[in-house]
Amino acid sequence: METIAALLDATGMAEIVNAYDWVWPICEIFHFAGMALLIGTIGFIDIRILGFGKGLPIHALERLLPFGVAGFVVNTVTGLVFVAGNPIGGSMAYLENLSFQLKMLLILLAGINVAVFYLTGIAREAAAVGATGDAAPAAKVVAGASLVFWVGVIVFGRLIMYNDTLLYALGL
């Protein structure tokens, strides 16, 4: 963890954030917009797979995915600015923050979930379901998990700045 922190701190991002007070808020704006794009596309497909909005073919909704991926990329870049450019406590303050750690864990789980979806053939079966059809239980489990993980990412993302509240609630 010290190695990662040293690498991130060596980027000099903190000096940029300190020198230009608009960098942080602008990255936050993009981080929120990216979040909405990700939820609006991936969440849209998840909700349809779960059975809401029948009449929408799942394979057609998947055409929206590049926008969700774009949102994820935007948030990875702006997220790196936050961690590497943290003016108070450096990147270590993020890496040691329980809310941040849980957020990263949930992103990892969401990634594994996507890999399971596409590598096991669940996605292919779901895409083959007709416009008004019902997706297989396995696809519903993946879609439900996806929604839970991404909503969790939002919650723990918001908690990063209020990590003490989480620690207090957990009795830590």
Binding site: I29, L37, I47, G53, G55, P57, R63, F67
Partner: protein, 184 residues
């Protein structure tokens, strides 16, 4: 509240507004939101506000993108049901927003970015209702393969613009003084 009553009794309306805001801010509920160490208080309201934002802005943006030509194979008629989710997400944000507002009412009414944000949210919601009417309700609904009417496309563009503006102003609410420094 007593201050408000005192002001009214004294026949002055000058302090009425701030009296009401003071009363709101010092109410038991607002104090709980602001000061309780519970995860459901301030952080819970903030989390709900972010989740609601993601769903109302995200889903309406996805629909706007479809109207603008992305993924034309998505049929419009069944997508209409998703407005229910958008409105639900909006109400989550209206309620969590009221809770967050109550917690710091007196400073927020003097925050220009916050007032601008409220304006954009109102416009975005009106826009969303118009979008539903002109692109999804019986008469306006283009059949499969039919081109999307120009009015629906224009509303899709304004949907994206208004939500973006609301997010920008909403974020800048946390930085009072920043706008004034550069544009003041």
């Amino acid at each position: 509240m007593p201050q408000l009553i005192a002001n009214i009794a004294a026949g002055t309306t000058a302090g009425a507004e701030s009296g009401l805001l003071d009363a709101m801010e010092s109410s038991a509920f607002a104090t709980w939101v602001r000061e309780s160490p519970s995860l459901f208080a301030y952080t819970g309201m903030l989390s709900l506000h972010a989740i609601g934002l993601a769903f109302v802005v995200g889903l309406s943006s996805a629909v706007a993108l479809r109207l603008l030509g992305v993924a034309p194979e998505i049929p419009l008629a069944p997508a209409r049901k998703f407005f229910l989710l958008m409105y639900t997400a909006f109400w989550v944000n209206a309620l969590s927003g009221i809770a967050l507002f109550a917690g710091s009412a007196t400073s927020l009414v003097e925050n220009a970015a916050f007032l601008v944000k409220l304006g954009f949210v109102v416009l975005a919601v009106v826009n969303l209702r118009l979008l539903k009417r002109f692109a999804f309700d019986e008469a306006g609904l283009p059949r499969n393969g039919e081109p999307v009417p120009a009015v629906a496309k224009a509303l899709a563009v304004s949907c994206l613009v208004l939500w973006s503006a609301a997010i920008i102003a909403g974020r800048l609410t946390a930085y009072p003084g920043l706008l004034g420094k550069y544009f003041g």
